[in-house]
């Protein structure tokens, strides 16, 4: 696990995002540039304060630096995969801790809607070098990978599609309270069940959106963040683990091994336990990952995720408010970036109608072959 001494030493100074939806005429660079301007204004920083740059899904860091007139001491790029949002934030924290940079701009741009991204078919490069080996069988798309995992979960534990519906309904309700969300009209369990199958057993409403948008996050040392415009949001803990071996097929344990490893590390580093979390931001590319995440992090026993999400437990006002922005299912598919921004805004108390009362600790979780979790706090320790 990262050195516990790092607890509360790095903080989020600024966050920014573009509008979400169909933003025709924009490419990932434009979207990232606008988001970064917002994040710098939010932090009360200027371009020249940035000495670290990490871009994701934006195709080239050099072109982005050229556009923005940046000459950072530390620069890098991560692949445009959702699991890389948490990993990028963690990398930036490490760069700041070891003195490679004082203030890192993390910038993400996604024009998937404009570009007509389909996440399946010939262009599918999901996972271990893409699903190419299975194309002759018509097997493609990350949605199908999650569908095959959910089917197995259903057989092992009796989990039902109606239980997934509760996740979609909760997040849509949250999106209705979020003026930035793309899909805001309320839905019911019956709507979920009546939505068409994409890859059975998953329905359309188990799938995330495909939309355009940009997100930026500015990280700096806790010490420096205290002098800036907004109150710091401290990174209390972070951790990472993987299951890369045999990842040419979906994992037989729903990534439980790396999820449990990350849970152990992130709570120890944060000096807080899962019961201390005021809200969760769970990477929801498809609704079943919410079950896998809750089980892997021990919020409920293995196999009981379906029952756990019933009864409004994940809704605002429930025991464990989750994806208060609406998440990928209803706010915006920003591959984890906007969920991290929502965590920051919840800690700051900026979430208006969807604000969690006294949000002091908010946890981001991403279940994937590369698992990450980050715990954000109002206080450094």
């Amino acid at each position: 696990m990262p050195d516990k001494q790092l607890r509360g030493r790095i903080a989020v100074a600024g966050v920014g995002n573009t509008a979400f939806g169909k933003l025709y005429g924009n490419d990932p660079y434009d979207l990232g540039a606008r988001a970064l301007k917002e994040a710098l204004a939010d932090a009360g920083l200027s371009r020249d304060d940035i000495d670290g740059l990490l871009v994701s899904r934006i195709p080239d860091y050099q072109r982005f630096g050229e556009m923005m007139g940046l000459n950072p001491r530390f620069a890098g790029i991560t692949p445009g995969q959702g699991r890389m949002s948490g990993a990028s934030i963690e990398l930036a924290a490490m760069a700041i801790h070891c003195g490679m940079a004082k203030t890192v701009a993390l910038v993400y741009g996604n024009n998937g809607r404009t570009a007509g991204d389909r996440y399946g078919g010939e262009g599918d490069r999901y996972g271990s070098g893409g699903a190419g080996p299975w194309f002759p069988y018509g097997m493609t798309s990350p949605g199908a990978v999650h569908a095959i995992m959910f089917q197995r979960h259903a057989h092992l534990y009796g989990t039902r599609s109606e239980q997934l519906a509760h996740i979609a309904v909760a997040f849509r309700r949250h999106a209705g309270l979020n003026p930035s969300a793309v899909m805001r009209d309320p839905i019911t369990v019956a709507d979920h069940q009546a939505s068409r199958y994409i890859c059975e057993p998953l329905h359309l409403l188990d799938y995330c959106l495909i939309n355009d948008g940009g997100v930026a996050i500015v990280l700096t040392s806790a010490e420096r963040a205290r002098d800036l415009r907004k109150p710091p949001v401290y990174i209390r803990g972070f951790a990472q683990a993987t299951r890369l071996s045999e990842s040419y097929v979906p994992p037989d344990d729903f990534w439980r091994a790396p999820l449990e490893a990350v849970a152990g590390d992130v709570y120890a580093m944060a000096g807080a336990g899962r019961d201390d979390m005021d809200a969760l931001m769970i990477y929801d590319n498809f609704s079943p990952t919410v079950l896998f995440s809750l089980e892997g992090f021990g919020f409920c026993p293995v196999g009981e995720g379906g029952r756990f999400v019933e009864g409004g437990r994940l809704e605002l006002g429930g025991r464990l408010p989750t994806n208060t922005s609406g998440g990928h299912l209803s706010e915006s598919y920003m591959q984890g970036w906007a969920l991290n921004v929502e965590a920051v805004r919840q800690i700051r108390g900026e979430c208006g109608a969807r604000q969690v009362t006294d949000a002091g600790l908010v946890q981001y979780i991403c279940a994937a072959p590369l698992v990450t979790s980050i715990i954000y706090g109002k206080e450094p320790s």
Binding site: R118, G120, G121, E122, D124, G132, P133, W134, F135, P136, Y137, G138, M139, T140, S141, A144, A147, I148, M149, Q151, R152, H155, R196, Y197, I198, C199, E200, P201, L202, S245, E246, Y248, V249, P250, D252
Partner: protein, 137 residues
Amino acid sequence: MSAPAKPLPQMTPLERPYWEYTRRHELRLQKCGACGALRFPASAVCPECFSDTAEWARVSGRGRVLSWVVFHRSYFPAFEADVPYNVVMIALDEGPVVISTIVGIANEGIRKGLRVEATFEDVTPEISIPRFRPVEE
């Protein structure tokens, strides 16, 4: 107008022997020359012991269904006419897991634990791909 062609298997040099055997309707996987572990997909070294020696060992072609899905939308134009079609995850009796299609049974009849065996479809004169059909225990 000819129908769009379905995607054909990738043919990296490493994977070519697998497809040369399936063309002969034989299912063979790499077996490590040092520790004997079977591996799939093909790779240059054994993920168990890192040995780079391997032979192509014939496997039974029998296995059990671990999980499955039914595609109701097609991401490949050539699969439009097949919708709804199944894709199945199968644990071979020898251990490795493969993705394929079940034939000879309605999608509704697919069950976890269903016993299956490989059958080969000649998709071009050069290429045959393994599919699976239900068999008795």
